[in-house]
């Protein structure tokens, strides 16, 4: 009925960080998880185009056993958005049920709600003009 398999799971797995230009803004993302196993996979996007196509400017995999904090440094000022999922079973994938519905938790910056698909860029977008912090619930 509701297809959200297009949640760009592949993009979330692109863990090779793109070299950042020398800037000084830092984005600190604290995740509130419902489980303490596996890793929270975080992908950072710097434009609507990159957000839609799933080409992150940076990504991190953060162990979920303790405080789950992703820090992205040296970011140029601008608009950003985050997609994240909690790889609860640590298999490196965003698991789905047989009909393609994610069976592991996922979330977006601003805690933007999904609505029959990933949260819109306009809802997930946040402006970075200096150090920025967010707490994202991912349950």
């Amino acid at each position: 009925m509701i297809r959200i398999a297009t949640l760009a799971a592949a993009a979330l797995l692109a863990l090779t960080a793109v070299p950042a230009q020398a800037e000084d803004a830092t984005v600190t993302l604290t995740f509130e998880t419902g489980a303490r196993t596996g890793k929270v996979m975080v992908a950072l996007f710097n434009s609507e185009a990159s957000y839609q196509s799933g080409q992150p400017v940076a990504a991190q995999a953060v162990d979920a056993s303790g405080a789950v904090v992703a820090v992205f440094g040296d970011l140029p000022a601008g608009d950003y958005a985050v997609k994240a999922f909690h790889d609860v079973n640590g298999d490196g994938q965003m698991n789905t049920n047989p009909f393609g519905i994610p069976s592991e938790p996922y979330a977006f910056s601003n805690n933007a709600p999904a609505n029959m698909g990933p949260a819109n860029w306009s809802r997930a977008r946040f402006t970075v003009s200096g150090d920025t912090a967010q707490t994202i619930s991912i349950r």
């Binding site: 009925m1 509701i2 049920n97 009909f99 994610p102 069976s103 709600p113 999904a114």
Partner: protein, 488 residues
């Protein structure tokens, strides 16, 4: 003569168009007023604490002990937006408990993410079967849209509120408090689990969940743990609210309301194509890859009766069969509006026979019927009787009576309360110590429109036309529910 009469009438019509008479004003006001049946889709503003029902008629049958759990939508309208379809209201779990001849009633809303969010913003915004929803919705998974409003399943000390496009919602049978969605296995989280599971004599539960031209076939153990979940390809992507089963086979009835385009609300995805006919797929429970297809003329349906097969392998089942999906698309929308004429013809109780040579046929009993139910002790086995609500007729929605159909004699034994009552689905409650199929009570609530209260009726299944053996009356009215189960 005829011409001059018509001329006169036309003249009168032209006159009344020019001059608004008091009669016209009164007639227009009457059209705007809610229909008496609107109580069936009224909003309930909160949970109903347990309260006694008063014995209003007859005597409580000795041995009738247990609880009738029922589910159905009970909140449609909010200031910032409303559900526009009967199937999209918030699920309300009702418990009618009967003990020592006394009856009580209580009800609690299923505490779903949908209801929590919509309560917070005081607007119905979530897309559903017939409600479009809007961009305030929060739907990250099917269960975020789950109204938990359709039917129920018992699971130990839990009652599961069933919807059809998402997970069961577990509620405590003792106080109807919500525990949470049921995930039968981690990798099956959020898979559709429909509203009409079928039961084997050993307690095994079968159910399906649809996804386009595929379905999951659920098989649960008697303790409600998962046995298996298998994906089965369907010959067509169509809407099915129900399926049925014999002791050996699953029976999948594919009406020609087929997927047309991706949109919301959900019902708008389907197109009625009677030229495709209705297909029936019979699947071997022991090997889901063994399938046979039968072809029938087009009919629509929501509800099937339990199926059975004879020694030759001939399969029979009953169906409340309709002509098209007008009720689903339009009628259920008007029901929530609470006024006007509800489009769609009442369905008729019909019997489908699937012969071993591949032929299939359907015969109508001619009896108006919905919510067919039968003896739970005979689920999947040969049986003779079907209980169903009756009395619905074109122009006035919702049933007013109850009947038992005898497939052996073709006789219908019915009782009609008249237009002052909305009859709800009846369940079979076998009489203790008796094994005959008809040795049962039929227990069902009804809305007494004149008194504005919900009543609970117990009929003797062998003598429905005598009227209720006992009736208990609450001091409040609940909107009409959909489906229930007796837990004795």
């Amino acid at each position: 003569m005829l011409a001059s009469r018509r001329h006169f009438l036309m003249g009168a019509a032209a006159l009344s168009a020019a001059v608004v008479t008091p009669e016209t004003v009164r007639a227009m006001a009457a059209m705007q007023a809610s229909a008496d049946w609107a109580m069936a889709t009224a909003d309930l503003e909160g949970d109903i604490a347990p309260r006694a029902m008063r014995l209003a008629r007859g005597r409580a049958p000795a041995g009738l002990e247990g609880a009738l759990f029922r589910n159905g939508p009970a909140k449609f309208r909010r200031p910032g937006g409303s559900a526009t379809h009967w199937f999209d209201g918030d699920g309300l779990m009702r418990a009618f408990r009967v003990r020592d001849g006394q009856a009580t009633l209580e009800a609690r809303f299923a505490d779903t993410p949908k209801r929590r969010w919509e309560s917070e913003i005081d607007a119905v915004v979530t897309p559903g079967f017939g409600t479009p929803g809007d961009d305030r919705a929060r739907v990250g998974s099917p269960d975020d849209a789950n109204a938990a409003n359709t039917a129920i399943m018992m699971a130990g000390d839990e009652v599961w509120a069933l919807w059809e496009a998402g997970s069961p919602l577990a509620m405590n049978a003792s106080d109807l408090s919500t525990k949470g969605f049921v995930t039968l296995r981690d990798d099956l989280k959020g898979m559709p689990f429909q509203a009409h599971p079928r039961y084997d004599p050993d307690g095994t539960v079968w159910n399906i969940g649809l996804w386009g031209d595929r379905m999951v076939v659920w098989r649960l153990n008697a303790d409600r743990s998962l046995h298996t979940a298998e994906i089965v390809a369907l010959p067509r992507a169509c809407y099915m609210h129900d399926f049925t089963a014999t002791a050996r086979h699953l029976v999948i009835v594919m009406q020609p309301w087929v997927f047309d385009h991706d949109t919301m609300p959900f019902a708008a995805r389907f197109a009625w194509k009677p030229e495709l006919g209705t297909q029936v797929m019979v699947i071997d429970k022991a090997d889901l890859t063994r399938r046979r297809i039968f072809e029938l003329p087009a009919f629509s349906y929501f509800h099937l009766g339990d199926a059975w097969e004879d020694a030759s392998g001939t399969i029979r089942f009953d169906v409340a069969a309709g002509k098209d999906m007008t009720f689903a698309m339009e009628g259920a929308r008007v029901l929530v509006e609470g006024r006007g004429t509800v489009p769609g013809e009442p369905s008729q109780l019909s019997l489908v026979t699937l012969h071993i040579d591949g032929r299939a046929e359907m015969t109508s009993s001619g009896v108006t019927a919905e919510f067919p139910r039968s003896d739970p002790r005979r689920a999947g086995l040969a049986r003779r009787y079907t209980a169903h609500v009756a009395g619905e007729r074109g122009g006035r929605p919702l049933p007013t009576g109850l009947a038992v159909h005898d497939w052996e004699t073709g006789r219908s034994d019915g009782f009609d309360f008249g237009d002052g009552v909305i009859m709800e689905e009846a369940v079979w409650v076998p009489k203790p110590g008796r094994s005959g199929e008809i040795d049962a009570w039929l227990v069902a609530p009804a809305i007494n429109l004149r008194r504005g209260v919900t009543e609970l009726h117990a009929f003797d299944a062998a003598r429905v036309s005598d009227g209720p053996t006992a009736s208990w009356r609450a001091d409040i009215a609940l909107p009409a529910g959909f489906h229930g189960l007796w837990n004795g």
